[in-house]
């Protein structure tokens, strides 16, 4: 048995593949990992520093005559990357194009229902990208500008505002129509760690730090999350990670 200390990007799937196990369950369900299994109910969410026991390989002997062909079926399990792309209101994005790349694999398939994009990946790949585009929003129908009525004499005071008199430049509005995520595959931690909560917040679009500990900045983000989702009465947001972990898991992990 070998002991492996988890590093960023590790999960049971990647460790199994790296150690030539076709199915991660062989490692995950090994008795020597039972304590870790209890602590980490999701095999794809480990914490840097976790210790995983890598079991020794068992030799399987199967009789077979020589000079004959024998068919051996290997049950090779698939590991996927499953992403759900949503807008700020958590409504599925109607993407025009969608390109997912992980390692040497890529696909260009628009999101399915609920914004789901999934692809089989090599579990040892830790870097990827997701790029989507979407059509620009339809601006509201501009009201026909009313013809400026001729001013009476004497003109009123104050005179009606003439917007054209103000010559300040306003940056031309260009709607955002594309987004790209740099994917850190295998780096999601369990929901009950501070980092796990913050990374879920990052994924959900929040400007959270990728941190290990709570501070004023994390409190601000958590409060904003609590407010937006009406998790507490207005003004009573705690800002504590512990108070949002369960909700974050539901919002982030479940389709």
């Amino acid at each position: 048995m070998a002991k492996h200390t988890v590093v960023p990007g590790d999960c049971f799937c990647s460790l199994a593949k790296a150690n030539n196990f076709f199915d991660y369950l062989t490692v995950y369900n090994h008795a020597s990992n039972s304590a870790l299994k209890a602590k980490r109910p999701n095999p794809n969410q480990l914490v840097e520093g976790d210790s995983v026991e890598i079991p020794d390989k068992k030799i399987k002997k199967v009789p077979g005559a020589t000079n004959k062909e024998h068919k051996f079926v290997v049950v090779r399990t698939k590991t996927k990357l499953r992403l759900a792309i949503v807008d700020s209101q958590e409504t599925a994005m109607k993407a025009k194009t969608c390109t997912l790349k992980v390692g040497g694999r890529s696909q260009k398939t628009p999101p399915a229902a609920k914004g789901l994009v999934e692809m089989e990946i090599d579990p040892v790949d830790t870097v990827g990208s997701l790029a989507i585009t979407w059509p620009p929003p339809k601006p509201p129908a501009a009201p026909k500008p009313a013809k400026a009525a001729a001013l009476p004499s004497p003109p009123p005071y104050p005179a009606p505002i003439v917007s054209g008199d103000f010559t300040d430049a306003t940056e031309k509005f260009t709607a955002e129509t594309s987004a790209t995520w740099n994917l850190h595959v295998g780096s999601m931690e369990p929901k009950d760690t501070v980092r796990g909560a913050l990374r879920r917040l990052i994924n959900l679009g929040y400007g959270a730090p990728d941190a290990n500990a709570e501070d004023a900045r994390t409190a601000a983000v958590v409060k904003s999350y609590q407010r937006k989702n009406a998790l507490t009465a207005k003004g009573s947001e705690s800002g504590k990670v512990a108070d949002v972990q369960a909700n974050l898991e539901t919002r982030h992990d479940n389709l």
Binding site: N44, V86, S88
Partner: protein
């Protein structure tokens, strides 16, 4: 630019279904307002293409206004810390994802691309939801923007109103509403013209026009300028008389010009109120800034109903700017291109707690562009005259000229920076009542003082001075009676002064007077002389010659008959009375009347009755004069044509530079009278009630004689 983010994603094992939800953050501006309360504030705008993440309140109006800065107590004129009209800058951000990296507030005024004030929002100010911008510990804004060259009071002001407050956000994420803005105003509430204090005028200098005296005469008619529709008289003391000058040239014009030059100086101030957010007019001096106040005038002189005068007044009356009948520049007035300013330039000085004596406090500049007859002034933002502005109003010196003054708030500018009110339009300029104030009419009058009325005895019937005054009123001349009434001379004074004057004559002429006669009690006539026979006897007694010899000698000198004797008495009597009255010329500048009933006791024998003289008194000057009234009531045919007061007015007329009409005996036409009339006061036409002809009136008013012609039709243009 594409949105780029990091995502930390878990793999999903073959027997699991968990996902990684990736959301695209959104941020934006919902709304920004300047407000007194939620119910009272400005209206927010978004670009037409904006799609805000949530709806704005839709509250507010484009005409929201407030009064920035400290306010004065109207009683003490000192800042009252309890008074203010502070407002909130309220804004609503959509930023639940903390995606906003930068949020900038900017203030703009019209026609300027760059903001004059900016502030970057920080920290908690960027959080999702609505905010009231803090200024230090306060959540209220008093309008202060800090140091800026165009905002010398450091507050937003009437000068640059209206304003645009813009909030622009930048961040990482989708933003369909990146900017919002709102408009607000700083408005004037009202303007009120008042007189400035006398102390801002130059100190009085002996021999020069006394502006402070003219001011006192103005204030005596009311502490405030005349209201619209009313009239006040501007009296210009001008005791200018012909001695040492000529009646026949333009000396009156030049002497009057030397004295009053470009006209009287009348300090006009205007208090300016600002409208607060509750539409109450308050005194907020910092809220005015360097806003311009346009001082304007209109000619209000009307036709006088005398053809010659009306023709002369009708000179380019519809083509000058301003229009009207005030005296044209070519005749010495201030109407017409190139005229001296009615609101002359003033340097002013910085606001202070006390005024500098004899200095005008407000800066005034003459408008050089279009409305050249008007001027701009600027207000004080502090000190004794905070919330006030003003100008020196200097109408022409021409009697009869009438001006109505208006002051306008000239805040509005065009894209090119031109002042909107700087136009050549006829007054009144078309603005709302809050932006202007207008006075009634200031009418210029010459003020000649009548300082002494001496008569020989109480038996001499007084002249009715009011009648004499009335004759000069059509010429806008006030003959101001300061005499205190007619005074009969004491017998002792009369007799002593008579004796002294007689003693200056030769012995033969002295013999005309019997030294035993009490001249004062002899009668109301000026001199009591011996008759011809007694005079001859007196000469004979003194010289030892015989009566026949004296008679022959006098006859040889042209004095043979009673009529000759009476004529000689006229000469001698005039000389004696001139010497007598010379001692009694009033010390003050002005006109004097000396009155006897008949020159002497033998006037009945004279070929003609002398009614009066414009005395050429030795101690008289071009500031002091006197006339001698000789005619008795019985010497006149009576009203309306022939009364003693017309003699008084006629003789004063000479002192006032008016010669006889050509028909009165002057051989030459001095081009000083209306040739179409024969009843000028300066004629001897006793068949009509004489009055000043139009030419005389205009000269008395100060118009240039050289610019007028006796043919009235030729004076019109």
């Amino acid at each position: 630019m594409a949105i780029t983010r990091d995502a930390f994603v878990a793999r999903t094992a073959h027997d699991r279904t968990h996902i990684n939800r990736l959301a695209i953050p959104e941020y934006g501006v919902i709304e920004i307002r300047v407000r007194k309360s939620d119910a009272k504030g400005s209206k927010s705008y978004l670009p037409a293409e904006a799609i805000p993440p949530r709806a704005a309140s839709g509250k507010g109006a484009d005409d929201f206004h407030f009064a920035p800065g400290p306010q004065l107590n109207s009683g003490t004129w000192v800042t009252d810390a309890a008074k203010n009209d502070d407002v909130e800058i309220w804004y609503d951000l959509y930023n639940p994802f903390l995606a906003i990296e930068k949020a900038t507030l900017e203030l703009f005024r019209r026609f300027e691309k760059t903001p004059f004030w900016t502030r970057e929002l920080k920290d908690e100010e960027l959080s999702d939801g609505d905010h009231i911008l803090k200024f230090g510990a306060k959540t209220k804004w008093d309008g202060k923007i800090g140091v800026h060259a165009d905002f010398p009071t450091q507050f937003v002001t009437v000068q640059h109103s209206p304003y645009k407050l813009k909030l622009t956000v930048k961040g990482k994420g989708v933003c369909n509403s990146h900017v919002a803005w709102t408009y607000f105003h700083v408005l004037a509430g009202k303007i009120k013209i008042e007189y400035g204090p006398k102390d801002v005028l130059p100190a009085s200098v002996a021999g020069k026009a006394d502006h402070r005296k003219a001011y006192d005469a103005l204030i005596a008619q009311g502490a405030s300028p005349p209201a619209a529709g009313a009239k006040v008289k501007v009296f210009l003391e001008s005791n200018i008389f012909k001695k040492g000058h000529s009646m026949f040239d333009n000396s009156l014009f030049t002497e009057y010009e030397t004295l009053w030059d470009k006209g009287p100086l009348i300090p006009l101030f205007a208090t300016v109120w600002v409208k607060d957010s509750g539409d109450t007019d308050v005194l907020a001096p910092k809220a005015l800034g360097r806003v311009k106040f346009l001082w304007d005038w209109e000619s209000k002189l009307a036709a006088q109903g005398l053809t010659f005068v009306d023709q002369a007044q009708d000179y380019d009356k519809s083509t000058t700017k301003p229009k009207g009948q005030n005296c044209h520049k070519k005749r010495g007035g201030k109407r017409g291109t190139g005229s001296d300013p009615v609101f002359p330039k003033q340097a002013g000085y910085a606001p202070a707690a006390a005024l500098t004596p004899a200095a005008f406090p407000f800066e005034v500049e003459e408008i050089g562009k279009t409305r050249k007859w008007a001027s701009y002034s600027y207000a004080w933002d502090d000190g004794k005259l905070a919330s006030k502005t003003g100008a020196i109003f200097q109408p022409s010196r021409m009697g009869g000229d009438a001006c109505q003054v208006s002051v306008y708030l000239a805040y509005d500018i065009t894209k090119k920076g031109d002042v909107v009110l700087d136009v050549a339009d006829d007054a009144p300029l078309k603005v709302q009542p809050a932006l202007k104030d207008t006075t009634g009419t200031f009418e210029v009058w010459r003020d000649i003082h009548f300082v002494r009325y001496f008569k020989k005895t109480a038996a001499v019937a007084n002249l009715t001075i009011a009648t004499v005054q009335g004759i000069y009123q059509p010429a806008f001349v006030r003959l101001d009676d300061k005499s205190g009434g007619a005074t009969a001379m004491a017998a002792g004074t009369w007799n002593a002064d008579f004796t002294a004057a007689l003693g200056a004559l030769g012995a033969t002429d002295q013999d005309l007077v019997d030294p035993a006669v009490n001249q004062h009690s002899a009668g109301p006539h000026g001199c009591d002389f011996r008759n011809l026979a007694n005079w001859i006897s007196a000469i004979a007694a003194r010289t030892g010659a015989t009566v026949p010899a004296v008679t022959a000698a006098l006859s040889g000198a042209g004095i043979a008959t009673a009529a000759d004797h009476a004529a000689h008495c006229n000469n001698i009597g005039s000389t004696i009375l001139q010497g007598l009255f010379d001692k009694h010329l009033h010390a003050n500048e002005g006109a004097n009347i000396f009155h006897v009933d008949g020159l002497h006791n033998h006037t009945a024998a004279a070929a003609s009755v002398l009614r009066g003289y414009a005395l050429d008194l030795p101690s008289g000057t071009d500031r002091k004069c006197g006339y001698l009234q000789l005619g008795k009531t019985t010497d006149y045919s009576g009203p309306p044509n022939d009364i003693r007061e017309m003699t008084g007015a006629h003789e004063f007329g000479h002192h006032f530079f008016l010669p006889h009409t050509p028909a009165a005996g002057e051989k030459k036409d001095y081009k000083a009278h209306d040739k179409s009339v024969d009843d000028c006061l300066m004629s001897y036409n006793y068949t009509k009630p004489r009055k000043l002809c139009g030419f005389c009136q205009l000269r008395l008013r100060g118009w240039s004689k050289d610019a007028l012609k006796p043919d009235g039709a030729k004076n019109k243009k």
